[in-house]
């Protein structure tokens, strides 16, 4: 079979190569399409637990014990996370001698102020049971881990006092409904944080349970992305850090657009020249709280008025006066991913009348900073007039402010818990808190365009950002 491949086939091959190689070399190539969706992580297929989980469960801890029989490491893994500790790692901050930790467990925000002494209410969003046992005992016991909060179908599960399951919950049904985490699980706490739908974030609220693509291009439409598609989770360690509960954040620990939008550039070179100074979010989240309003001011000093009518959006006797806003442009600041300042209990209040609960770090000189959208929440919070620091009241419970409407007793009650002395004289001062705007990314066609920021009716306050004037005329940095 010498002539299996006759010699002329070699010639044919040569001719083909001679023509094909140059043709293919010169042929205009379509730009390879960058498909960000290809980077969405694929997750393990979920096993239906309906027939696996057997009762009988009397307490949440009973359920956890059952879970841990198979998922042996789960509790240990979860207990390393801030979902459990409600406290950050230790930070060395320049304005304090000792290292500090930040979190809902030990610091305050400018919504419901602080959880210390208010565990019966606040811990309904903690991924654990048993806060009636006190913090130390509660935190030490793996059986207190609340698997159901994140894994049960929220339709069959809810939390009540001290982080324990609500009394009406059928624990067996809840346990049998467990599954991979969905937006509904995260949304229970993160959409309703601060005491109701959309209160805190402005870019996270209940409209994201069933979002339209025009509301959120990732969670809506065909992609129907879940939180964990970006907040990639391995061994219960969830990617992403909350600015307010940290001082600095290692970029490795943060979620970024580039996880999926790898090396993706705009067709328009002019837009690309913005990338060094403008975050993706700035243009692609042109407005926040698109459907559901978010709280923008909260005046605690008005709380406790007798006879004033309650209204969810303007006044509640227990909480004071609020304003909500909807579909509005965020506030833009230079931001390098860290806080320049985070209020630590005991810090003095601001000298000029404004105390920052947190203040994003960055300036026009900071090459790592980009212009970034924030929701600003402005509150009036109680402070100790003599000691000149913010006070954290006990609000819940039978002796809390919400029952007694007596600020003095609320502060006195809190003093031994927070360790901050109360002088007996309180006032109210303005506090600012900055929330990054990074969800509710809208389709590209709705992104900001040149005149949204530049020109006479542009939305940027160039002087405040440190520019001599509109960079379209004065030049960028």
């Amino acid at each position: 079979m010498k002539n299996r491949f006759p010699s002329w086939t070699l010639g044919l091959l040569g001719i083909l190569l001679l023509i094909l190689v140059p043709v293919l070399y010169y042929l205009p190539r379509a730009q390879s399409k960058n498909n960000p969706a290809a980077h969405i992580p694929t997750k393990a297929v979920h096993v239906d637990h309906k027939d696996i989980v057997k009762g009988e469960f009397k307490t949440g801890q009973d359920v956890t014990r059952a879970c841990l029989e198979c998922h042996e490491d789960a509790a240990a893994q979860l207990m390393k996370t801030t979902h459990w500790t409600w406290e950050s790692k230790a930070f060395d901050v320049p304005w304090r001698e000792d290292d500090v930790t930040i979190g809902k467990a030990n610091q305050i925000n400018n919504f419901c102020i602080g959880s210390q002494g208010n565990e019966n209410k606040c811990m309904s969003c903690h991924a654990g049971y048993g806060w009636e046992q006190g913090r130390e005992t509660q935190q030490a016991n793996p059986e207190n881990v609340d698997c159901l909060a994140c894994h049960a179908d929220p339709a069959s599960y809810g939390k009540g006092l001290f982080g324990n399951p609500a009394e009406s919950v059928d624990l067996l049904a809840a346990a049998q409904s467990v599954r991979a985490v969905t937006r509904e699980n995260c949304g229970k706490c993160h959409f309703d944080g601060g005491g109701g739908n959309g209160v805190k974030h402005g870019d996270l609220d209940e409209s994201l349970y069933f979002p339209d693509q025009n509301l959120d291009v990732h969670m809506g439409g065909d992609l129907n992305m879940q939180c964990t598609d970006c907040h990639v989770t391995k061994d219960h360690q969830i990617l992403g850090r909350m600015l307010a509960d940290n001082y600095t954040i290692d970029p490795q620990e943060q979620v970024s657009c580039e996880q999926c939008h790898v090396n993706q550039k705009h067709e328009d070179e002019r837009i690309n020249t913005h990338l060094a100074s403008v975050a993706c979010q700035t243009c692609h989240i042109p407005a926040i709280a698109l459907e559901d309003p978010t709280k923008v001011t909260w005046d605690w000093s008005q709380a406790g008025q007798e006879g004033r009518e309650d209204d969810h959006f303007t006044y509640l006797k227990i909480k004071g006066e609020f304003t909500y806003d909807k579909n509005f442009a965020p506030t833009y600041l230079w931001f390098n991913g860290n806080n320049e300042y985070r209020y630590i209990l005991g810090d003095p209040i601001g000298a000029d009348g404004v105390t920052y609960i947190n203040k994003p770090a960055g300036s026009i000189e900071d090459q790592n900073a980009k212009i970034f959208p924030f929701k600003v929440h402005i509150a009036k919070q109680p402070y100790d007039v003599k000691n000149n620091y913010l006070l954290q009241p006990v609000t819940s419970g039978k002796d809390g402010f919400w029952t007694t409407f007596d600020w003095n007793s609320a502060f006195e009650l809190a003093a031994p818990i927070t360790g901050l002395a109360y002088s007996g004289e309180y006032g109210f001062t303005e506090t600012y808190m900055y929330w990054t705007t990074t969800h509710m990314v809208q389709p590209a066609k709705d992104a900001l365009q040149c005149d949204s920021c530049h020109g006479d009716s542009g939305r940027m306050d160039w002087a405040a950002l440190g520019y001599p004037g509109d960079p379209i005329e004065w030049g960028g940095r």
Binding site: G11, L18, I19, Y26, D451, H454, G469
Partner: protein
């Protein structure tokens, strides 16, 4: 807010100071923007005598007021916006146009004619011209000065003189300029943030020209109109009697200022854009559909077809915050001095000698840099002074990564052609003044809208501009987008033998009788006999109607009345889009139904054949044709402009001839083959002794098959380039690339093969020997027409050193020496058009080369048919082909010759 003005310079210093002192920290409350206007000093408002208006209570004089610091005389005399053709004004026997500007050039849309001195009939006098057009006349020029360069007030009043009269109730009456006053160039109109244009227009329409400029200040809390004349508000003035500048808001002209006269401009606000379409108060929008706005089209309030997907802005330059004055700048503005550097000696890149900012502010040239639009011809000496696309954009950088033949495209196609692919606002299509509506208007039609142009229920469809060749000042001719507006009107010869448009007054007299259509007009036009004339009946469709109107015009004493029509191109240069929304599909032009030859509708009904307006820089080389729907169309004819567009242009006789040649040879070989087949069945086999010979060494086979593949690919890709319409699946650009690359392979292969044949002496095989050639050829031909059917042996032996018979030698000699070089040369020349167009142009350019290339291609195709057939005439039908594949061929042995 021009960047380099004194104001902003000072503003910069202030901002830098503020920046240095203040903290840089962001605060939630935005600081108010610095207004340039506060930097303009306070100044006294002076009347025409130079007296402060607070004392005189007179109207303000801009020349006196602004002239305190700025050289207003210089400004007014260097401003074509003010002059409007006055300095050019020369009465002409040959043309009814007396100047190049609005003052003197007849516009068939606005229709009314500015009567020349000595005309038989008065239509528009200077005063009435001003009353009609004054909204959009800035003042000065014809509003203050006579055609003979004297102040209007000094012209001797006579009702015979169109400069000092006005048509009242059908007869000329004297006009007293002293009473009406004249209208100085109105600085406020363009330099105030909110000039009161409505009050100004009222004053102008009332003929109170002297009050127009003061009326511009009404409502600004500076002056009010009282029964005793102007009442100046002392509170707006400082103790020194100077107007507080901040109350006035003096500024560099904004887009909104320009919009007052030029067309629709929508500033960047949340408010959805709506526009007045086909309304000559917004001329740029009316005539072309251009709308200057940074808003996304789909966010505007227009009921626009397919709007949802139009997420680009109306105008990319508006979106990117360019202002009208960035391109149309004052010519001596030192900020734009680099534009004037073209006259530098060759060695000098930059000449720093330019006006100081104070010199500029004192005497800013108000002749603004302008383009080369077809219809606006005032100050033609300034045409082409503005920044054009290429002054800011490097077309090579922007196109190199995807557009083949960049330079070829740039040399033939204006940027606007692709970057303004579609207009999204309606534009005027027809103005028919051969008939008039009851309110004395033309019968109009608008393109780009279904229904009435400004009704909210109408669907705006927009339109694709027609592409016409424009000859620029620099002599370059480029295809550019236009709207064509066709107007029809009556003309007559006046007593002086001058052709004039029939006056509106005469038209009204002919058509109307006490505000209704005259009975004989109704009789002639009332198609449905309902006693009324609807708009659709208002068209002259037959000679009876024409005669009816004509006889009435004759009765009015108009000599030789007749209808004329004119199709006028209106340039489209704004509403530019970025590349991704531009025309960027090759097949948009390189195809059947090319964008380049796309017709545009002129008029649904044409009372008379219109002529293409010749008085501009646009070449009307197309044809005006009647479409299948009976409407009149303008059909561009690229061939008339010596344009050859691959895929779109073709010379039909070449294709017919080529196809005939190809089909003929195909039929021939089929016939010959059939005869051979039939006759071979009658012959006994094996008459001729054959022998297996090593005929073709590897290289010969290799170059032959490489050449075969190349030619087949070239023919096929060439056909696709020629007729992309029947090969829709292929990417035009890709096919062109394959064609070019394979052509290079073919040329290299041919060259190497030639080298081989020369060096090995084998070239001899291809050279027919003159001695006995014809005899031998006849012998061979006889064999093909006779012997081959009888099973005779080939007359000439095929041996490795002499494989070709005489006819083959002659054929290859022709192909290799004539056709192949011709095809290579024409192909290379066509390719070279992008870099060295002079060579191709010397040989007739693409319009000659491309059809020639096609013809030779047809010949090659024909050759292949015959060649392949001839290979079957070997010992067995497939033997020769096998020889060319394996090298070994069974050939006849001719012992008597051997």
């Amino acid at each position: 807010m021009k960047k380099y003005s004194y104001f902003t310079l000072a503003g910069f210093i202030i901002l830098v100071l503020a920046f240095g002192i203040g903290t840089v920290l962001a605060s939630p409350e935005p600081a108010p923007e610095q207004q340039a206007s506060v930097l303009h000093p306070n100044f006294a408002l002076l009347d025409a005598d130079g007296v402060n208006v607070l004392e005189s209570n007179n109207a303000v004089s801009t020349m006196q007021t602004c002239g305190q610091c700025h050289d207003t005389e210089f400004i007014a005399s260097h401003a074509f916006h003010s002059d409007l053709g006055l300095t050019d004004y020369t009465a002409s026997k040959d043309s009814w146009d007396a100047s190049t500007g609005t003052f003197g050039q007849w516009n068939p849309l606005t229709y009314r004619y500015l009567t020349q001195n000595g005309d038989e009939r008065l239509d528009l006098s200077t005063a009435e011209w001003l009353m009609l057009n004054g909204d959009r006349v800035v003042g000065g020029g014809p509003a203050t000065t006579s055609r003979t360069d004297a102040p209007l007030a000094d012209v001797k009043v006579s009702k015979e003189n169109p400069e000092t009269s006005i048509l009242k109730n059908g007869s000329p009456t004297a006009w007293d300029w002293d009473a009406s006053g004249t209208m100085e160039m109105n600085c406020f109109l363009c330099h105030l943030e909110t000039p009161n244009t409505a009050a100004r227009a009222d004053a102008i329409r009332a003929g109170e020209f002297g009050n127009a400029n003061t009326a511009t200040l009404l409502g600004l809390n500076i002056v009010s109109d009282s029964a005793d004349g102007w009442a100046w508000n002392a509170e707006a003035f400082s103790e020194a009697g100077e107007l507080k500048s901040e109350t006035l808001g003096i500024q560099d002209p904004t887009n909104s200022n320009c919009a007052t006269c030029h067309g629709e401009v929508h500033p960047s606000t949340e408010e959805p854009l709506t526009f007045n379409a086909c309304d000559l108060n917004y001329p740029q929008t009316a005539t072309t559909g251009q709308v200057i706005s940074s808003q996304r089209i789909n966010e505007s309030g227009v009921n626009l077809a397919g709007k949802d997907n139009l997420d680009r802005s109306w105008d990319i330059h508006a979106e990117r915050q360019l202002k009208c004055t960035d391109c149309h700048y004052a010519l001596n503005n030192p900020a734009h001095v680099s534009e004037a550097q073209s006259s530098n000696p060759e060695h000098l890149i930059y000449d720093p000698r330019s006006l100081e900012i104070n010199e500029y502010l004192q005497r800013p040239d108000h002749n603004f840099a302008r383009g080369q639009s077809a219809q606006f011809n005032a100050a033609p000496e300034y045409k082409g002074t503005m920044r054009r696309c290429e002054n800011c954009h490097d077309y090579n950088k922007g196109h190199a990564d995807w557009l083949p033949y960049v330079q070829t495209h740039i040399d033939a196609v204006a940027c606007e052609t692709c970057h303004i692919p579609q207009m999204y606002a309606p534009a005027i299509q027809t103005y028919d003044w051969t008939v008039i509506t009851k309110d004395g208007g033309a019968v109009k039609s608008c393109r780009g809208v279904e229904g009435s142009p400004n009704s909210v229920t109408s669907l705006v469809t927009g339109y694709e501009p027609v592409l016409l060749n424009r000859t620029n000042i620099d002599g370059k001719t480029l295809l550019a987008p236009y709207n064509l507006i066709t107007s029809f009107y009556w003309v007559y010869d006046d007593a002086n033998g001058n052709k004039r448009p029939v006056r509106l007054a005469d038209l009204e007299a002919a058509y109307l009788d006490n505000g209704n259509y005259a009975a004989d007009i109704v009789a002639a036009f009332d198609g449905n006999n309902d006693g009324k004339l609807s708009n659709s009946e208002l068209v002259i469709e037959n000679s009876a109607q024409e005669e009816a109107v004509k006889s009435k015009l004759l009765a009015l004493g108009l000599n030789n009345p007749r209808m004329e029509g004119m199709a006028q191109p209106y340039s489209i240069n704004h509403n530019v889009t970025r590349g991704e929304d531009a025309l960027n599909d090759c097949k948009a032009c390189h195809n059947e139904g090319s964008r380049i030859s796309q017709p545009i509708k002129l008029a649904a009904n044409a009372p008379v054949m219109p002529a293409f307006d010749a008085e501009n820089n646009v070449n009307g080389t197309g044809e005006i044709v009647t479409g299948a729907d009976g409407a009149l169309y303008y059909q561009p004819m690229p061939a008339n402009d010596d344009m050859y567009v691959f895929g779109s242009s073709r010379v039909s006789w070449i294709d017919w001839l080529g196809a005939l040649m190809f089909a003929g040879s195909l039929l021939g070989v089929i016939g010959h083959g059939t005869l051979r087949f039939v006759s071979s069945r009658k012959q006994a086999k094996g008459q001729v002794r054959t022998e297996r010979v090593y005929m073709y060494e590897p290289y010969r086979r290799f170059w032959h098959w490489l050449q075969t593949s190349s030619i087949v690919i070239l023919l096929f890709t060439g056909l696709i380039i020629h007729r992309p319409d029947i090969f829709g699946a292929f990417s035009f650009r890709g096919v062109v690339t394959v064609h070019n690359v394979v052509a290079v392979i073919l040329v290299l292969n041919a060259a190497l093969s030639l080298f081989y044949h020369i060096t090995t002496d084998r070239i001899r095989e291809f050279i027919p020997h003159p001695y006995g050639f014809f005899d031998d050829a006849i012998v061979q031909a006889k064999y093909y027409v006779n012997g081959i059917f009888k099973g005779e042996g080939h007359p000439f032996e095929k041996i490795p050193t002499s494989r070709m018979n005489p006819i083959q030698k002659a054929t290859y000699f022709a192909i290799l020496n004539v056709l192949l070089p011709l095809q290579i040369i024409t192909g290379a020349l066509m390719w070279s058009v992008q870099k060295f167009p002079q060579f191709a142009n010397a040989l007739g350019g693409l319009p000659f080369l491309a059809p020639f290339h096609s013809l030779v291609a047809w010949t090659f195709g024909t050759f292949i048919v015959v060649h392949v057939y001839m290979t079957t005439t070997g010992a067995t039908p497939l033997e020769a082909m096998r020889g060319m594949v394996t090298g070994w061929e069974e050939v006849e042995v001719h012992e008597e010759q051997g």
